[in-house]
Amino acid sequence: MTDNWFDRLKDIGRHIGQTAYIAGLKGEVLEITSTGKARMRMPYGPDLVGDPDTGVVHGGVITGMLDHTCGMSVTGALRTPMPIATLDLRIDYMKPAVPGQDIFAEAECVKVGHDVAFVRGLAHQDSREEPIALCTGAFMLIRGGYQMPPAAE
């Protein structure tokens, strides 16, 4: 535990069980920690299918989950809240996801710089020792925040 209110919110597990929307698909946030780790779960469903012959999910679902989880890990590692934006993501597909089974994604923020944060992550089903995909990525930290439109009079 820390004295930082932003970290405390993460450490009491406020995020656990919240819905992680990947293009409107409902995943579940399993963990975001102030040490920069994040995990989520996506249940299998008919809208996820990318190959109608086999029922294997579209690679974009894995990309979406990894992008989202990597982003959550950066948010976890930050000491103050600020917007972030994906700069790049490299994904290696180790093996196809088994149709009908939940998919899990987890990520770790390995470095928070002044402008850029670096992450790595993986997606798996039964065991994290046998990942279906590995990824590395970089996120921009938008320290000044977004320019919000002026409030209406």
Binding site: V57, H58, Y93
Partner: protein, 144 residues
């Protein structure tokens, strides 16, 4: 896939829009396809469920990656007349600009075709074709 097998048997290119319509996740994203200038061109109209950051609002990075990967796969199937969906081996996505809540376009080209693996480059843009919002480089396995 049956529609691919039928196109091969009839000695013609598969219809990219029928292919897209046969992929549930692409239907879910609302993607459509057409052939333009000898390449497949994808269109994804804006929809509320595609937003990742409601504060902006901006398209979800996963949606951007999905559209790029779809463009790559459809171009490979269309150009190589593959009977099955290609398997992604690896992809790198560069996010160049914020995806605005407007219609998004995608196209891909095969940079190198080997016997088993193809290297594909894909690009997304919105209002201005010369200002891509994201780019992909990836390898895909052709399954016979």
């Amino acid at each position: 896939m049956e529609l691919l097998a039928r196109a091969i048997a009839e000695g013609r290119d598969p219809d990219p829009d029928a292919l897209i319509a046969a992929i549930p996740y692409c239907r879910y994203l609302g993607v459509r396809a057409a052939v333009k200038d000898g390449a497949v061109s994808l269109i994804m109209p804006f929809a509320a469920h595609l937003v990742g950051n409601p504060m902006l609002p901006a398209l979800h990075g996963g949606v951007i990656g999905s559209l790029l990967e779809t463009a790559a796969i459809v171009q490979v199937v269309w150009e190589t007349r593959a009977p099955k969906m290609p398997k992604p081996v690896d992809i790198t996505v560069d996010y160049l600009r914020t995806g605005k809540p407007v219609e998004t376009y995608a196209r891909a080209r095969i940079a190198r075709q080997g016997r088993r693996v193809v290297n594909v480059h894909a690009e997304l843009w919105q209002e201005d074709e010369t200002k891509p919002i994201a780019a992909l480089r990836g390898h895909f396995l052709i399954q016979s």
